[in-house]
């Protein structure tokens, strides 16, 4: 009888572990290809802005003046179009979703200020001094990318 069939299935489920997962309390296993979030290697970025122009949802903002790359996490649809078009291949897909949030989160990454151009060869002394100053500046903003602790407010829609 069909009722017995489903009865068997239902009774069996009573003794099995749940088919669902208490996400996000219990973290889930990510697949290698999971399109979770877009990550950037800021050191390699040349701030060309192609990702900003190609993004179907306008989630990315590249500012050359402040040397920053910003992504609106809630606006991004994880299509990985930016990853495909990036000429430097510094954008990548991270197989992990962003943490659930009730606010519109945006992440801003900054490049350290541009190193001053090396001085002409006939004046070696100041060039050495500048070279010393540059790493100190780099140390203040480690790893090339600084994630702001406080999310930047999303533009009003």
């Amino acid at each position: 009888m069909p009722v017995l069939k489903i009865g068997k299935m239902v009774m069996g489920s009573l003794f099995k572990k749940p088919a669902t997962l208490m996400y996000p309390v219990i973290s889930r296993e990510w697949q290698e290809r999971t399109r979770g979030q877009i990550a950037i290697e800021m050191d390699a970025c040349i701030l060309c802005g192609i990702c900003m122009r190609k993004c179907p949802t306008d989630a990315i903002t590249v500012e050359k003046a402040s040397r920053s790359w910003t992504i609106q996490r809630m606006q991004c649809i994880q299509c990985c179009c930016c990853v495909e078009v990036c000429p430097k291949k510094c954008l990548m897909n991270k197989p992990e979703y962003t943490t659930p949030d009730i606010k519109k989160i945006s992440d801003r990454f900054e490049k350290p200020p541009e190193e001053p151009k090396p001085a002409p060869a006939e004046k070696p002394a100041p060039a050495a001094g500048e070279a010393k100053a540059a790493p100190a500046e780099g140390a203040a903003k480690p790893a090339g990318a600084t994630k702001l602790e406080k999310p930047a407010p999303a533009p009003a829609e």
Binding site: P2, V3, K5, I6, M9, V10, S13, A19, Q31, R33, T34, R35, K54, P56, I77, Q78, C79, C80, C81, N93, P95
Partner: protein, 359 residues
């Protein structure tokens, strides 16, 4: 003489996640007339074609619908590829077929769950969706997305599936076949399910033809209509026959969809056995010029994609006609004269996707 009353149904209704509104003219618990109205979820996706390049537009078109997203992406690509005379590699065609058929299984299992939920059989609903979950896991593993895949692109596909991956898919499908057989017996033989479905909302063959129904709705009334028969993609190399039933009632529509799930499993197994080695994409050069119409067999029926290019990187116009659009007249026809309690069943059995319809 009984009094006529109008009962509003939707756009927010417990049985129906889709925002469709119906004015039901009732006479003694019997529906005399149903007046549908849509327009609650229009997003203007077709208009976006003027602002997004034709290569990026595929991401937008995929989001027309969450359930048949792959089919929409393929339909758009097929239309623009036809426009630009691009020949897609054979392996890509097979991969597209595999993903499209997996989408069909996932869509039909979702629908079966919703139907069970509609007539109040909660455990049947849960188990249908539990089985569907393994299909979503295949999607995540092979494409990276569970619902929206972004894997179809102009000229081919973005990702390949290895031989081991294909063998694993075949294994998973073989595994769910057993569980599905158990569920099928409940859906098709249980008396409580039959009481809600048999003889409800009959649509005759002539009405189905006259009202231009498509997909499982038409096939349940005996109309042999399946766009896959034209052999696009790799369908020409797969052996299958459209699933049809004669009765035309809710039970027949349920039966058609269940049989299609098994048919899709068989088609994927065939495709996995036949898939050739080779490239998965060809580079796309130039801009679309001229117009082209592509047709697809979505899980809900025939969909229509029209694109016209003017030699620039933006298409001039893109038009999508989805299956629900064609099935609404038939739904209104079957609603006339039915019991008020059967209305949710009748709306569910056309498998409405209003988000698709309004785009």
């Amino acid at each position: 003489m009984s009094k006529r009353t109008i009962i509003p149904f939707g756009p927010q209704h417990p049985v129906l996640p889709e925002p469709v509104h119906l004015d039901l003219v009732i006479e003694d618990e019997r529906v005399v007339e149903a007046i549908p109205s849509i327009g609650y979820i229009h997003r203007g996706l077709e208009k976006l074609v003027e602002k997004r390049e034709y290569t990026e537009m595929v991401y937008v078109i995929e989001r027309v619908c969450g359930i048949c997203s792959f089919g929409h992406g393929w339909g758009y690509c097929k239309s623009v590829e036809g426009n630009m005379e691009i020949v897609v590699p054979e392996r890509a065609e097979y991969l597209r077929c595999i993903w499209h058929e997996l989408s069909r299984i996932h869509s039909h299992l979702l629908w079966l769950g919703l139907l069970a939920d509609g007539f109040g059989f909660e455990s049947l609903f849960m188990h249908s969706w539990r089985i569907r979950e393994s299909i979503l896991d295949i999607f995540e593993k092979t494409t990276g997305g569970r619902v929206i895949f972004s894997v179809c692109k102009l000229g081919g596909v973005r990702k390949d599936i290895s031989a081991e991956g294909l063998a694993e898919i075949a294994g998973i499908l073989e595994g769910i076949k057993g569980e599905l057989t158990e569920l099928t017996e409940v859906f098709l033989e249980d008396y409580s399910v039959k009481n809600r479905l048999v003889g409800v909302g009959k649509l005759s063959y002539s009405d189905a033809v006259e009202l231009c129904t498509v997909g499982p709705m038409a096939r349940a009334s005996g109309v042999v209509q399946d766009i896959r028969l034209d052999g696009h993609g790799a369908y020409g190399k797969l052996d299958f026959a459209p699933v049809t039933e004669e009765a035309g009632d809710c039970y027949a529509r349920c039966k058609v969809r269940i049989r299609e799930v098994f048919q899709s499993i068989a088609m994927i197994t065939q495709a996995i056995a036949q898939i050739p080695e080779g490239d998965i994409a060809v580079p796309v050069k130039g801009m679309p010029q001229g117009e082209f119409v592509a047709r697809m067999e979505q899980p809900r029926g025939e969909a229509y994609y029209y694109s016209i290019g003017n030699g620039s990187k933006f298409l001039q116009r893109m038009r999508v006609r989805t299956p629900t659009n064609m099935n609404i007249p038939a739904m209104v026809k079957t609603l006339q004269g039915c019991d008020l309690a059967d209305v949710p069943m009748l709306i569910l059995t056309i498998d409405p996707c209003i988000s698709c319809t309004e785009r």
